[in-house]
Symmetry: C2
Subunit: 228 residues, 2 copies
Amino acid sequence: MKRNAVVLLSGGLDSATCLAIAGSEGFKVHAISFRYGQRHQFELERATKLAEAWHVASHRIVDIDLAQFGGSALTDAAIGVPKSASVDELGDDIPVTYVPARNTVFLSLALALAETIDAKDIFIGVNSLDYSGYPDCRGEFVAAFEAMANLATRRGVEDDTPLKIHTPLIDLTKAEIIRRGLDLGVDYSLTLSCYDPGESGQPCGHCDACLLRQKGFQANGMDDPVSG
Amino acid sequence: MKRNAVVLLSGGLDSATCLAIAGSEGFKVHAISFRYGQRHQFELERATKLAEAWHVASHRIVDIDLAQFGGSALTDAAIGVPKSASVDELGDDIPVTYVPARNTVFLSLALALAETIDAKDIFIGVNSLDYSGYPDCRGEFVAAFEAMANLATRRGVEDDTPLKIHTPLIDLTKAEIIRRGLDLGVDYSLTLSCYDPGESGQPCGHCDACLLRQKGFQANGMDDPVSG
């Protein structure tokens, strides 16, 4: 019998690839997405399409209002999303698109779901190369979350089998992630990575997410199937 | 200038005491409560009254639907809250009132708030004595959460001053918690601990929370100021 796994699914390129990897490893996939006060809902539409395309066992969209805390360009319309002409202009600092404690909150809710469906595997598509400098996308953060999770739940008290947080993309470049997804049959035209899409959902082409994504497709000798 | 602190405030006896302790230690208190799909809203009313009584700098009630995951008597009306005649009947197992990953989710949201208001102190009223056997009320869980939190946020990358999770009640019995609160002027008539109160908010008197609380007041030679 297939084992349950929880997969965090944003509708972006990384989580779409992560979903495909979890499925290819034989898990029964329960996808979880978040309506957290982000600037646009297009990514949730894409998450729903991806979940359908991969015939997941379940897909939940959880409401959680991070916008009330503010502090990020992704949840506060008053803070602009930075745009650049080229990926070479991206800085090393934590950008204003960082959402305070977002992955901690998302993983916590994934943990709650995992406990109720008796899953001991959670997949998250963070990667530490070609990323945007977010502290909660680093391997050391995920390892610390896993250690905490194993003390937080019923499993930590009653079960010897630890919960595992899978980060299959952690050491891959964007180009390698795309190559892996193409091998698994991911249709990247269903995904959306842009932080600041237009009114009909088309990518802006100049935010960090757009620039990193374009570079990844170019390295694979192809154009981004989603363009502005 | 007073330093900001985030205090988790449920409206129960423990968090009311924790709120008073944070205030007595000179912090500017930002209280956070959760509408998480619990069986009743009375505890949020009490949280609001307590926040007003202690003149907190801010009080947020965050919506987060843990009930959609189920798995607990506190969020699923189909699962009954266990009742006992006496505190001596409480078992050692994790009871059905345990809500999967609740404190992990609550602390994650407190962390998000802390980051946006530049607080490096979070108070949570967990205690490992006279508690109900919940895995996420143990000191080892809180220590692991603190370690994770210090890798999760901007502070973990840019600031040398670590975030601290304060658990001032962790080693106190219920009787000692009440004694401490009375010394600080906590009005326990404003609090509600019951898992399954009646239609007008009166405690049932026989759930784990009621029984532990009664025992604590009795040890202080007094009756619970809130009775059914």
